[in-house]
């Protein structure tokens, strides 16, 4: 299974994502620059965190017009796995690949600490290695992670089981609607989340609960492509 990590000017979690793929599932992974015009070689695309284009105008607003984004859209339509983390989540909402928007944290502060997440839907390609309702420990680092959507969109998210993660209990760090920390598209192949699973792959980093996101993706891909495949 082949992974791409998209790199924009200002991305800063690209190396973490790359190493996470190597360390957790040992699959081939490439950095792909934002000018790329062909992603057909990849089975999964990671849109990493950071401050693409300096967060100018709005987080992700300019990155969504990068050349590579039309390829990311194409990959999404083909059902390939796409995971946007932090700024990557912001880019995917700006691009219209995920509903809603990420706005300024209600507390106005950049929040950088571990969070407890509840796995709300473990029936996806990204969460199948977790238990339903499990509480996992994954860090956040953002100033604009307050997920907002209108009531109609929220009702749809719920009806389609598109909410994958919520901040557990009363720990919501940013004011997001219904404690939402991560969502998927209707098809379930595009996911965006503010917390950083790629920063939680080793106890030395404070948690290894993020590992299973990567093993989930590999597991889902192998199921799609025949269980015996070892690539």
């Amino acid at each position: 299974m082949k992974f791409a990590v998209i790199v924009f000017p200002g991305s800063n979690c690209d190396i973490d994502c790359y190493k996470a793929v190597e360390d957790t599932i040992g699959q081939p992974v490439d950095y792909v620059w934002h000018t790329a015009t062909d992603l057909s070689a990849y089975d999964a695309i990671l849109v990493p965190g950071g401050f693409s284009y300096g967060d100018y105008l709005r987080c992700g607003a300019i990155a969504r017009f990068a050349n590579v984004m039309s390829e990311v859209k194409k990959a999404a339509e083909q059902g390939k796995f796409i995971l946007g983390i932090c700024n990557g989540f912001q880019i995917l909402t700006e691009a219209g690949l995920l509903p809603g928007a990420l706005i300024r944290n209600t507390g106005l502060k950049f929040r950088c600490h571990q969070t407890q997440l509840e796995v709300v839907n473990n029936g996806t390609a990204f969460t199948n290695q977790y238990s339903q309702g499990e509480i996992i420990n994954i860090p956040i680092a953002h100033g604009e992670g307050n997920y907002f959507c209108d009531d109609a969109t929220l009702a749809e998210l719920k009806a389609n089981n598109q909410i994958l993660f919520r901040y557990a209990g009363d720990t919501n760090p940013n004011g997001s609607v219904e404690n939402i920390a991560g969502i998927s598209n209707v098809g379930g192949n595009v996911v965006g989340m503010m917390p950083h699973p790629e920063r939680a792959i080793d106890q030395l980093l404070g948690s290894e609960d993020g590992k299973r996101m990567f093993t989930s993706i590999l597991n889902a891909w192998r199921e799609q492509n025949g269980a015996a495949v070892n690539s």
Binding site: L57, R58, A61, I62, F65, T93, E94, P99, G100, A101, I103, R104, N105, T106, G107, L108, N146, F148, C149, D150, G175
Partner: protein, 80 residues
């Protein structure tokens, strides 16, 4: 021709910055301050004299890039 574009946060969306500024103004003694909303102001120079065309193009710019219509409203004025 010059366009002035205003991008504001939708009424039904919380504006944490505006709320913080409102609180600061109250603390400073400006008790008469009601709601404060913070938005963006953009000046865009356009190389055209065709007003109708400029309006249509600006609308497209706002919808595609300048505003995120999920959480923001926009309006613009044209002069020249």
């Amino acid at each position: 021709m010059k366009a002035t574009v205003y991008v504001t946060i939708k009424e039904n969306v919380l504006d944490p910055q505006g709320t913080a500024v409102q609180g600061a103004l109250h603390t400073m003694g400006f008790a008469e301050v009601g709601k404060v909303r913070i938005g963006k102001y953009l000046e865009v120079e356009l190389n055209t004299n065709d007003r109708a065309e400029a309006e249509a193009r600006l609308k497209e710019m706002c919808e595609k890039l300048l505003a995120n219509t999920v959480v923001e409203d926009y309006r613009f004025e044209l002069e020249g």
